[in-house]
């Protein structure tokens, strides 16, 4: 792939022109939210344009800085104390040049910009595109696959090589759906349907995060994107469609009772166990927990999904995520452990 090569050339160019030591920003491992590591047709288009504009920007900056420093070097009073200053205050050709040349440079940016806009914001998409509904809440992400019947939260799975059509909705305030390596960003606005259309190319686990300020825990509204080969994706869908695990013995079975008795079920769906109607629009809603145990993260992808973390979260959600709508349940230590065991069993 040529992208990393060009990328490093770009970083070195930045380093040279700014005389800033870039040693500190050399990656020891990949940056999870790197905007310069495209893995889809969409982000590749963004990236190519970025490279072009950056190169032109750097050239212009070099010209301006060089001219100013040359002027400083030549004309300071120290270097020529008695020299008579120039009194020239206009030059038609010079002024025309620095009007027309920048205009041409801008034209060289504008034309590919408009072409990329038209290419990346299609009015239509193929019939076999996979629709994925993204529903933003304060402060977590809900994902629906209307054609597949799958519902999940904070972690979205998509197959490679197929057009994916994200449809963005918000249940409360304005959020922004940002997954730099896969799809750039797009605001999620209540009362308005936005969309992102892309084809992902490289399987892997990618990070995402809300980037429009949305209240107290704006920083804690993250998500993951799992790009999978079509076969792996089919496997995942198949698993998601299975009914939830019904533990029959041990702490997990006791935990199922705790879940049913505590207020959990008011907000959280476990298919076949709890849930509310699709028409439910207002008020608070929590993530679908049918296959909670199969996810790698929880609480807006801010923590790894381990029994300890789940316990920490349930014990006092507001401490982990300030302003979170999930209440403190006041469970006893044993109940908590049983509930965690049950949730982790929901593979």
């Amino acid at each position: 792939m040529t992208a990393p090569l060009r990328r490093s050339a770009l970083v070195s160019a930045l380093a040279v022109t700014t005389a800033v030591v870039v040693g500190g920003c050399k990656p020891s491992r990949p940056y999870p939210l790197d905007t310069l590591a495209p893995t889809s047709d969409l982000t590749k288009a963004f990236y190519d344009l970025f490279v072009e504009v950056t190169v032109l920007d750097i050239i212009v900056l070099i010209v301006v800085v060089a001219a100013l420093f040359l002027a400083i070097a030549f004309f300071s009073t120290r270097t020529g104390a008695a020299r008579r200053p120039s009194v020239k205050h206009s030059d038609m050709y010079l002024e025309m040049a620095w009007t027309i040349i920048p205009a041409l440079i801008l034209l060289a940016i504008t034309v590919p910009t408009v072409r990329t806009i038209i290419k990346t914001q299609p009015y239509s998409w193929p019939k076999d595109a996979l629709p994925v509904e993204v529903i933003a809440h304060q402060w977590w992400w809900e994902f629906h696959y209307p054609t597949l019947g799958v519902e999940t939260a904070d972690e979205v799975h998509i197959p490679t090589g197929r057009v994916i059509h994200f449809e963005l909705f918000s249940k409360d305030v304005i959020h922004s759906f940002f997954m730099p390596q896969v799809g750039g960003k797009r605001d999620v606005i209540p009362g308005q349907e936005n969309q992102i259309t892309l084809v992902a190319n490289v399987p892997g686990e990618y990070y995402g995060q809300c980037t429009e300020f949305c209240g107290d825990s704006h920083a804690n509204m993250r998500f993951r994107v799992f790009v999978q080969s079509p076969a792996d994706f089919q496997e995942w869908v198949k698993h998601q469609l299975e009914p939830p695990v019904k533990p029959t013995s041990g702490p997990a079975a006791a935990g199922a009772k705790v879940f049913a008795n505590a207020p959990c079920a008011i907000c959280h769906t476990i298919r076949g166990v709890s849930g509310f109607s699709k028409q439910y629009t207002y008020g608070f809603r929590g993530p679908d927990l049918t296959h909670f145990g199969s996810r790698t993260t929880l609480a807006g992808a801010i923590m790894d999904n381990t029994p300890q973390n789940v316990a920490v979260w349930i014990r006092n959600p507001d401490e982990v995520k300030p302003g979170a709508n999930m209440p403190t349940l006041g469970l006893s230590g044993r109940e908590l452990n049983e509930l965690v065991a049950y949730l982790e069993a929901l593979k």
Binding site: F178, E212, G215
Partner: protein, 820 residues
């Protein structure tokens, strides 16, 4: 540096001497008001800097618990609000604008000195309102951009957003007042011979800035009024549930917000254009292009607001349009940068601290401008917006741009303002610390942005690759603070031990350096006559083309005669500006605590003080000594003032009308066609139009000195206005009681009541104005010489009538015919 010897003459009192605290409280001297603005803004700079340090400290390490999320959100919001509205704007427009405009154009004061004082006191109380959260209820916490619908009471129940809303409304009043004042001053108060193309570039930049303020702030005012109504009267301007869209706020905010960016940077351009020629000993390169590019930037700035909204999904056409207009702004901006470089080129450079700040500005602003070109391209912006690369961009434009220009100008103008020199050694230390620390803090934010770090997050995970630069930036942020400590020491040293400044310490080029240091109250003993650009330089050395090495023409720069204070008109101090501002403040606070007695007391104080101020001295009963004498255009300043006010009002009504048009289509019933009473409104429209005719007759009466018929028609106009208002009261009552259409019934009703109600309020103010004039007329105070007072009231009255014609056409006649 050639300090010019000045011939001996008796030194008058400088503007800083005498008066005591009461003198400063009642002052209407533009230089004292400038100092008040400057001191207030510097206090706010300390506060804003403190907030920035809190933010940076929280971000120093991942998963930090130094601040809570709520505290962090308050601090980053207040940092933005403080730096924009309470530091950069007041320093550039309030401080340098006030101090320099009259001195640079050869005037004795601004056009409306008492209005100037009023602007300051309202600004001060607005600043206090925004900052009330320190002691009560919590600071604003939804960002300086306060995106709806997060600002609705449901999502932000506290007082935080109310301080934001009311505080910005109050500050908007102050900004529009001073912009109007400066606009009229620049247009009308220039010294004889100072044509537009002989004005110093700073005056050009402020002329353009004041137009931007006049035409941009009303859009924000309308947005804030809608927010206020949503929060207090339960309307639905930004509520999805009623069919509205929170995007309306973004459009209104950025129609204001992008010109606001230029309101902050154009005066900085002007200051840089003053500093660079002086210390290069060369005239400004490409003066006409510099002036035209300012105008072009201002013009384009109204067509680019959408580039703040590329991620909102406006569609490919809008995205492309806003991308192209945004790119276009780079051309005039480039012209300015290249012209500054060309001014330096070939000069005889003197590296004073002021010049160093200006040179650093040119490079740093270029970096900020170039990253701006990136964001102007929507596909790139979709990766970069709301990430730290945007934070880097606007700190390069405003922090390392505007603030550097302000610091440079402070070093240059400090001697003229205080009469003492700053220490150049400390100044150099200040500069190098600032240039290092600002760059070390903000340049790595480009890297953080490319690594995907979002803005406005109070915490982040450790494995994101952001740790090092965040740590590094926080350390350097404290060095920024250190550089300001050096500045503070320098200021203290200068005031205490600083060398006394000569009148022209930098061998400068423009008129402000031709007056004594610090300037006397009346500025100019004799008003200068200007024959060329760089007027003072020409007086000293004979021509613009002089190199500054020629002998100084001492006779030309000496005052021709000793000033005769009796002949110089200096307006008298007034306490009313303070009282009016206090009244407005009382109204704001009363609304916030929902304690309506305080609102009434504040309103009463405001109205009584305003009327008292109107009758305080100028034309009621004796000759106005300076109305036409000092005018450049031969027009009365008040007339230009009312025209600029009308221009500002146009944007206000345009915002209300377009909101009505958009929301009417999204509303649920009852609809306009079901409700509006066309025959009744046609009648009252006819009455209102006829009142304009009576107004013309009244003015004609006074102009031919026919006091009886003048007063007669004036009262007739007021009566017709009252009939119109009566019709409106009947109409509203009918809708309210018989149709059950409440203020917040649906989108149509709230927009209708707001638009028509605000127009009715304007008519009401007009009727009060006419009756005041009529009282003066009955008492025989208005004759043909003073008919201008009637003419100005008439202009306002005609404007309100024309607005009604538009409203009647768009609201009543163009009803929605068919509903789905």
């Amino acid at each position: 540096m050639a300090a010019q010897p000045r011939p001996l003459y008796v030194r008058e009192l400088s503007y800083l001497e005498g008066g005591g605290i009461y003198g400063w409280l009642t002052t209407i001297d533009h230089k004292r008001i400038a100092v008040l603005y400057g001191v207030t803004a510097l206090v706010m700079l300390v506060l804003g800097g403190f907030e920035a340090l809190m933010v940076r400290t929280q971000l120093m390490v991942p998963n930090n618990h130094f601040l809570t999320a709520q505290q962090y959100n308050q601090f980053f919001t207040m940092h933005g609000l403080t730096m924009i509205f309470l530091v950069i704007m007041p320093l550039e427009t309030g401080f340098f604008g006030n101090f320099l405009i009259p001195l640079q154009i050869g005037a004795r004061d601004v056009a409306f000195p008492r209005l100037n004082a009023l602007s300051y006191w309202i600004f001060l109380l607005g600043a206090i309102t925004i900052n009330l959260g320190w002691i009560w209820g919590g600071l604003p916490n939804d960002g300086w951009f306060g995106y709806a619908n997060l600002t609705e009471k449901f999502y932000s129940p506290g007082l935080n957003i109310d301080f934001y809303d009311v505080g910005l409304l109050i500050l908007g009043v102050s900004s529009v007042m001073s912009a109007l004042n400066f606009f009229v001053t620049i247009i009308n108060m220039r010294a004889p011979g100072m044509t537009f193309f002989r004005m110093p570039m700073f005056i050009w930049s402020l002329l353009v800035t004041t137009i931007l303020i006049l035409l941009a702030f009303p859009a924000l005012t309308v947005g804030l009024i809608f927010l206020f109504m949503d929060r207090y009267f339960d309307t639905h301007y930004y509520r999805v549930i009623a069919g509205a869209t929170p995007i309306l706020w973004q459009h209104l905010f950025w129609i204001f917000g992008h010109p606001e960016v230029y309101i902050m940077i154009l005066p900085a351009f002007g200051l840089i254009s003053e500093i660079i020629p002086v210390f290069s000993n060369k005239p400004l390169f490409g003066y006409p292009m510099m002036a035209y590019s300012l105008i072009l930037i201002a013009f384009l700035s109204y067509g680019v607001w959408g580039h703040h909204m590329f991620a909102t999904g406006m569609g490919p056409i809008a995205d492309s349009t806003f991308a192209i207009t945004s790119m276009l702004i780079a051309i005039p901006t480039g012209i300015k940068i290249f012209s500054w470089v060309a001014t330096v080129w070939g000069g005889r450079l003197q590296f004073s601290t002021a010049f160093l700040f200006a040179l650093a500005f040119v490079i740093q602003f270029t970096i900020g401008g170039l990253s701006g070109i990136m964001h102007a391209s929507p596909p790139i912006d979709l990766q970069q917006t709301d990430s730290y690369i945007i934070v880097a961009h606007f700190h390069y434009v405003l922090g390392l741009g505007a603030l550097f220009a302000i610091l440079g100008a402070l070093y240059m103008y400090w001697p003229k303002i205080t009469g003492r020199m700053l220490n150049e050694k400390l100044g150099k230390l200040n500069f190098w610390l600032a240039v290092w620390s600002f760059n070390a803090t903000f340049f790595p934010m480009h890297f953080l942005g490319e690594l995907g770090m979002p803005r406005r997050i109070y915490t982040y995970a450790p494995h994101m690759g952001w740790d090092f630069w965040n740590y590094w930036e926080t350390i350097n942020a404290y060095i920024i603070a250190l550089s300001f400590v050096v500045l503070a020491i320098n200021v203290w040293w200068s005031l205490r031990y600083g060398e006394r400044a000569t009148d022209d310490p930098w061998d400068a080029r423009t008129l402000e350096w031709s007056v004594p240091t610090p300037p006397p109250v009346y500025n100019f003993a004799t008003v200068p006559t200007v024959t060329a650009r760089d007027a003072f330089w020409v007086a000293k050395y004979g021509s613009v083309e002089a190199t500054g090495l020629e002998p100084v023409n001492v006779a030309a720069i000496a005052p021709s005669t000793a000033p005769d204070p009796g002949k110089i008109h200096i307006p008298a101090p007034s306490l009313y500006p303070v009282l009016i501002a206090l009244g407005l403040f009382g109204m704001g606070i009363g609304v916030l605590v929902e304690w309506y007695r305080v609102v009434l007391i504040g309103a009463a104080l405001m109205v009584i003080s305003a009327i008292s101020m109107a009758f305080e001295y100028p034309t009621w009963g004796r000759e106005d000594p300076h109305a036409v004498a000092e005018s450049f255009l031969g027009l009365d300043s008040r007339k230009i003032g009312i025209w600029s006010f009308i221009g500002s009002e146009c944007v206000f009504f345009a915002s209300l009308i377009s909101t009505y048009m958009v929301y009417k289509a999204r509303s649920t019933g009852p609809f306009d066609a079901d409700i509006l009473n066309i025959p009744l409104t046609s009648f009252s429209t006819f009455i209102l139009l006829m009142s304009s005719l009576l107004m013309v007759l009244a003015l004609a009466g006074y102009q031919r000195n026919d006091k009886f018929w003048g007063t007669f028609w004036l009262i007739g106009t007021a009566i017709f206005g009252c009939i119109f208002l009566g019709g409106q009261v009947y109409e509203f009552g009918d809708f309210w009681l018989n149709e059950g259409m409440l203020f917040n019934s649906n989108l149509f009703s709230q927009c209708f009541y707001t638009l028509v109600g605000f127009h009715g309020f304007h008519v009401f103010i007009g009727v009060c104005w006419l009756l005041t004039l009529a009282v003066a007329g009955i008492r025989g105070k208005i004759d043909s010489k003073r008919s201008l007072a009637v003419e100005i009231g008439g202009l306002y009255w005609h404007f309100v009538d024309i607005v009604w014609v538009v409203i009647f056409t768009l609201v009543y006649l163009m009803r929605t015919i068919k509903h789905a």
